[in-house]
Structures are given as C-alpha cells and as structure tokens.
Amino acid sequence: MRIFRPSTRGDYLMPTITTLRDAVAEHVHDGDTVALEGFTHLIPVAAGHEIIRQRRRDLRLVRMTPDIVYDQMIGAGTASSLVFSWGGNPGVGSLHRFRDAIEKGYPHPLAIEEHSHGGMSVRYSAGASGLPFGVLRGYTGTYLPQHTNSISTIQCPFTGESLAAVSALNPDVGIIHAQQADRDGNIGFWGILGVQKEAVLASRRSIVTVEEVVDTFDSRVRVVLPSWVVSAIAVVPRGAHPSYAHGYYERDNSYYREWDEISRDRNSFDEWLQHHVYDTEDFAQHLAMTPDLAGV
C-alpha cells in the first residue's frame, strides 16, 4: 500500500509553519533520496544551503536540471549519487563542482543515474500516481539505457509496439519553493510550473519554502497543493535566489556568471562555502552579502 503523505492520518494534520532549519533537521536525514525541484523558476536554493549547513551526507540527490545549488551541494560533499537529466549552469556553461566530482571524484565520487527530461518527468508522474513505472517514446538508439538501470522496454499489449519504460521516482523528501502559502497551509504558485507538483506528490515527505504567507492567494495562482500533502512550510523571502519568483523578483543573471568563477577553483569554492553557508545563520545572512539584488 503506497501512501504518499506526511504521516498516517487519524489525527488531523496540518503542515507545521516552521523555520527552514527545523524543517530540514526534522525531515532530511543522511542517506535520504532528496529532490529539490524547480525548472529555472522557483528553485529552492535556500533549502539547499540549509542542507549543506546542517552537513547532511550520503544523499541521493534527484533533479531534472541540477544547476548552481546542486553544484554547491555536490561540492560541499552532501551527495553520494545524483539522478538527473541535464546538469549545467544555464546560459553560462559547465558546473565545475559537478564535473570535478564526476571526472576526478572530488570531494568524493559521485554515482550518477542519468535520464532525459522526458524520462525524468514520466518517472515523477509515475511516482506521484502510485505506479511502479511509466511509459514513453524515447531512449531507443541512445546509449543511455546501457548505463542506466531504471530504463527498460515494454511491449504494448494491444499493438505489440515496443516502448521505453522507466521506473517511478519516489524520493524520501521533495523540496520546492513557492510564491505563497495561505493561513491554512495550502501552497500556491504560478508562472512556469515545472515538475514541482509531481515532485511533492511523489515524495514521502515534503518541505515547501515560500515568499510569504497570505490571507488569500494572488489571483495569478495556478497550482494549489493542499496543506495535507505538505510536511513543513518555511517562510524564506528570496529563497529562490539567484533564480526568480514570478511576481516577486527577477533572475540574478550576474550571479550565474559569477558562479562560474567561484566554482572553477576548489579553494575559491571552499572560501565561498565557509563564508556564505557555514558562517551564516540562515539564507537571509547570505543574501545580505550579495549586493545589488534586483527588485521587481
């Protein structure tokens, strides 16, 4: 019996509106499979920093598009494996910490489970649906199935056609950033929607950081996750920086470019890590060091 829900019911349960520190302490454990999702928009960067700050280890990180925050988490040594479909610094180039881990095993080896976007999105949908696998047209002729055990083939029982099958993703923890929570603990977001709904619904536990708590959702809200599928909510203004929150702030493109320099060298990365994460109490202190944040 698959129950993807914060806890067994009986007693009425609403997500705790708590600090991000407490949410990560309670819900993210060493060795967990953890998905921080956000498709260029609403990336849960603050949550990633908090996981680093609490020095989690041996995580199996999942994300369609690991970018800067995953580069940071991998460079900081939180992860022993990565499940993904595209890893890069969008519009800039490589992720140097990610490459250092894969190419040189630094700070330690990173096992990878590699897919395409189509395959990953089907895996999340299957996970959110309580199915053990999903089906798509793809992978045939590519070398991905030779390296990835979670890709197989399946025959249509009606037409005999052969199709790709991928195993479901069911992370221990799904983490997303949203624009708003209401006072009942429902989550609302809009703009580019990505795979965030599926990431939460496929996961056993979930943490949502939000820009603010409101009495009534903005009329632009397009996806609502009811309170009872969320484990914990933390209010973290600008918690998606350097990505953006539609209607709140824009993408900080200079940060993406600057990250290329910081991350290229192990020492400059370690300095950044110490100064911006380990020596800070929370994401707000890190943001305070970042000049010229673009307003909307």
Partner: protein, 259 residues
C-alpha cells in the same frame, strides 16, 4: 519612411558566425510551424523569424510555455518573459507527453557538443562514460525532441572536435546508422533535415541520409568545410552559396540581441 530605408541600406553587412547561423536558421521557419526551441541560437533564430517573415510561427519551450512571443531574448528556457507572453503555460510532464510526444511539434531545434555524419548528437560525455575526459551537461529534452518532432534542425559550429567520425556517446538519435535505420528504431519524427554551421549548410542525402554539404556561406570555402569535419565530407554536386544576410535581417537580429 525614407530615412528608415536609408538607415537599412547603411547597415553594416559584415556579420559574425553566430549571426549567419541564426539568420540561416530563421529562414527555415514558416508561418504556422510549431517549433520546439532551446535557449541560445535556436531561441534567437525562432524569434527572428517571428519578427520578420513568419509572424505566425508558434514557439514552444520545454519549460511548458506554448505560443510565447517574447519581446526580448529570453535568458533561460524558464525565463518569466516566456510565461508572461505565452498563450498557455503547462507543466513539464505535460509539455513532453501531450505536446512533444503526441507529434504536435513540426520542428525541433537542437544544438550539441558533437555530431556524426548521420546527424546523431552527443551532449553527454567525451571519452569513457565511467571515466570521462569531459563530462557534458547531458541529455535534457533533446532525445525526445530528436525522436518525436516531425523534423529537426541542428545548429553547430563546424570543427573536427564537433564534427566527428565516431561519437563516444549517442545522446539523441539522428539518422542513426543511415538509410532506413532510423525508422526501423520506431522513431516517430523524420530526423534532422538540416545542419547549419558557421561555414555552410548540410542536409541528409536522399536514400542514404548521410549529411552532405549543400551550401557555403559567403566567403567560406570547401577546404574550410572539409578540414572542419572529422569524417570524409561529401559535397553536393549543385553546391550553392548561402544568400547573404539582408540589411533587414541583420538590423532586426541586432535589435533582438541588444547588440
């Protein structure tokens, strides 16, 4: 109005490699084409087409934005501008299942790190997969675009590191092993119809589906194309010269790029 025409005529008609690649790519798009675009040259080319000869081209981004009409070049595939100006915004699972996989995309627009003579693409790894020389970003949405779009366009600078005799990794299938081998795989779409480089244009030959040089950009030579290619490049009998960028194309592109 006379002033504007005069300004157009006075536009500097020299152009960069990116500009000729973008302009040639934009010319391939027509009104009503539904184009699945990634960021960079594909996005710029599609928007250039929309702002010049193909105002009714439909742009779809893998971030789930359908029918976007950005007023500035998007900075990422998930730029907020794409959502603001879209006819519809859907989730990522939906864009791949209901839109791309269902065969609703006419033209998939791809880049790559490496390409072979059949138009297969590598964006995964150079060297051994488990012990890579260069780890590339990976597949993204390209395998499904390559598999399911009715046809694909590839934009890639032509040099021996990119145009290779043998791919270390096939990330996205082009004409696979040539001839009918692509359709034998069960691929839905037709595969690469054009490869646009900084030197010229390649298209698959009838029957064999091997990429052959069909056009050279103004000022470029066959020697440059051959030496930029890691396999024995074949040249079309009726090799053409690419029509140079017009003043209007360059002016619109430069305004679009903010350059």
């Amino acid at each position: 109005m006379t002033m504007v025409t005069q300004l157009d005529i006075e536009t500097d008609l020299t152009f960069t490699a990116d500009e000729i690649m973008t302009i040639v790519a934009s010319r391939e798009l027509s009104d009503g084409d539904v184009v699945f675009v990634g960021i960079g040259i594909p996005s710029t080319a599609a928007n250039l087409a929309r702002l010049t000869h193909a105002p009714k081209v439909v742009l779809v981004y893998e971030s789930g934005t359908i029918g976007t009409k950005p007023t500035r070049p998007p900075l990422s595939i998930g730029d907020g501008e794409l959502a603001e100006t879209a006819d519809a915004v859907v989730s990522v699972p939906e864009i791949f299942a209901y839109w791309l996989q269902a065969g609703r995309i006419d033209i998939g627009f791809l880049g790559a790190a490496q390409l072979d003579r059949w138009g297969n693409l590598n964006t995964t790894v150079v060297g051994d997969y488990d012990n890579p020389t260069v780890r590339l970003p990976g597949a993204g949405g390209a395998p499904e675009i390559a598999f399911n779009a009715r046809k694909t366009m590839v934009v890639l600078r032509q040099n021996p590191r990119a145009f290779v005799d043998h791919l270390d990794f096939i990330t996205s299938v082009g004409h696979y092993e040539g001839h009918d081998s692509r359709s034998a795989l069960g691929a839905a779409g037709g595969g690469p119809s054009i490869v646009i480089t900084d030197i010229g244009v390649l298209r698959p030959e009838a029957l064999t589906n091997e990429l052959v040089l069909v056009s050279l950009h103004p000022g470029r030579t066959i020697d440059e194309a051959v030496s930029g290619t890691g396999w024995e490049l074949r040249i079309a009998d009726d090799l053409a010269t690419t029509a140079p960028p017009t003043a209007a194309e360059l002016a619109t592109l430069r305004e679009l790029s903010g350059s």
